[in-house]
């Protein structure tokens, strides 16, 4: 196992390099001249533009030189010193400020979605064909079919405004939890639909297996059979489905954060896209791909814990 993990970590090096190269090409070669963007509408003289390009390092060679733009790009990434955003704030500080808000929103959402959808899926599979199963499926399909925005608007208008149960919009005076409660709830409601349907199919594959019958024949209670014997066998697809959504947790939720005014990473990203702040966007892309590779590895390692038949040696 350790040898496997080390090997996988080494594989990360070319992947990360490839990501850096791609983001570099996308933002520095294919993308437009950033000096012009930064001064759009200010009628700059060519001299001023050249000064800015010099300041940003755009007059250096692209790739093939020791101090080329690409080398600087890579250096910035591996030292986690991503430079400054358009508003002169260091990007790393922006991230540090935003991540807690995003995590406060997405981590409870994640656990809420996983626990509710797996439990509902197990029960729906066990009571398959009954009214319970049908109602769960109906709710899931309905949940998947309504647009995300309608939940946000419904939640903000009815639950928060009319009945005053939650905060409508972020306010720094209140605790993060009271600010995040409603978006977390909406996120869970929207998230479970597809998940329940997927997990229910997974559970149905397992629930007719011989070992389930054996477990019942031993005299175990339904709860133990379903949540011990069945669940552990269904772990592989559950791990695949959940661990790979973890990187998204750090990036926050674009829609929820912007509609509820939560100053998390999602909001920062949206702002950066609107103001064409390429250095922020490229940093986000880089961080996301690193997280994705790491969590991919984590999910592979989790497989071995979930299923003894999987071995890495």
């Amino acid at each position: 196992m350790p040898a496997y993990i080390i090997r996988r970590l080494l594989y990360m090096i070319p992947i990360v390099f490839g990501v850096l190269l791609l983001t570099f090409l996308l933002f520095n070669v294919v993308g437009a001249d950033q000096a012009v963007y930064r001064l759009a509408g200010n009628n700059p003289t060519p001299e001023i533009l050249d000064d800015i390009r010099h300041e940003l390092g755009y007059d250096k060679p692209l790739i093939f030189s020791i101090d080329s733009q690409f080398v600087t790009h890579v250096k910035k990434a591996v030292t986690f010193n991503f430079g400054k955003a358009l508003d002169k704030e260091p990007i790393i500080d922006k991230l540090k400020n935003g991540v807690p808000y995003s995590l406060a929103l997405t981590v409870p959402m994640f656990f809420g979605i996983v626990v509710t959808s797996v439990s509902l899926a197990i029960l729906a599979a066990f009571y398959r064909g009954t009214w319970f199963d049908r109602i769960i499926l109906l709710i899931c399909v309905a949940g998947m079919s309504f647009p995300y925005l309608s939940y946000i608007i419904f939640g903000q208008y009815f639950i928060a405004y009319k009945y005053d149960l939650f905060q409508i919009y972020f306010s720094p005076q209140r605790s993060i939890w009271s600010n995040a409660a409603l978006p977390i709830l909406i996120g869970i409601v929207v998230g479970i639909g597809g998940n329940v349907r997927f997990y229910r199919t997974v559970m149905l594959d397992e629930i007719n297996s011989g070992y389930i019958r054996t477990a019942f024949a031993k005299g175990l209670s339904t709860r133990v059979v379903l949540f011990k014997h069945l669940l552990k066998n269904a772990m592989i697809p559950i791990i695949t489905n959940t661990v790979l959504t973890l990187p998204y947790l750090c990036l926050g939720s674009l829609l929820l954060e912007s509609f509820f005014g939560i100053p998390g990473i999602g909001g920062i990203t949206l702002d950066a896209i609107e103001s064409r702040d390429f250095s922020v966007i490229s940093t986000m892309t880089f961080i996301f791909s690193i997280l994705f590779v790491i969590f991919n590895l984590i999910s592979d390692v989790c497989y071995a814990f979930a299923d003894p038949r999987i071995s890495f040696d």
Partner: protein, 330 residues
Amino acid sequence: MNENIPLLSIRNLSTHFFVEEGVVKAVEDVSFDVAEGKTLAVVGESGCGKSVTALSVMGLVPESAGRVVDGQILFRGDDLLKKTESQMRRIRGNEIAMIFQEPMTSLNPVFTIGNQIVEAVKLHQGIKGEHAWSHAVEMLRKVGIADPARRVREYPHQMSGGMRQRVMIAMALCCWPSLLIADEPTTALDVTIQAQILELLRELQKQQNMSVMMITHDLGVAAENADDVAVVYASNIVETASVAAIFEEPLHPYTQGLLRSMPRLGQKMERLESIGGSVPNPLHFPQGCKFHPRCPIGVSDQRCRTQQPQLREVAPGRCAACFHAKGYGD
């Protein structure tokens, strides 16, 4: 225990499945006894309702569509059908244990076999921790698994089919059940392993003095292991007798057909005889005796085509459900 009361006595059991196409009468008016310490073989073709009978006794008929609609299942005189689910849970795996046809899929692949045996021991015997584990090791030794102390920590995929069936037996017997239901325990195994497993079952049955209800489609298995035989055809019992009597003189035409279609040692035959026709669809059983379309007598007999013969005692200790069986009367 009173010698005269059988350990398990099934009376007029009917289990039906309600599916979209109609009602599948998987078990119809089935009655038989399993005597204390004896083995009853329930013999019949696939799909005739043998396994559903077993699941009915365990209270494990798939709830989504199936239901026991009538009858009694008397275990030591108590009707199991009247018990609550939690009462049944104390009986399952404890007093009545079951082993299944597919040793490859009947064990949970993600738990060690020790874990799976200990689970039952803890549940029913109240033995805890290390004691439960040493009991599991002891059971594995009993079913003939070499190096049980090491094997107990292994997973099912590390074992062969025969070993897994031994583990299943160890798991079923770890709480000293008085009745073991073995649903085609050797069908999925090759012949040499089959003989070993049956031998093991006989031995353990003697040791633990339990009754066995052995479900099989293999008359050879029945002949070697059973004391009594119940022959099932299309959800009904057509004949019950001691194993000697049934092989000596089968009374029901279906049993006669089954015996004729068995290869015999020392007899040269071009090809085996078979029973003409095929098993009727349980959604549309034929009128009258369900066997009449395939029966040499019944196919042309007016009564067989219109009336269903009931299982009736035709000689001391043996019953048959055929108008033409010797001793059936009219």
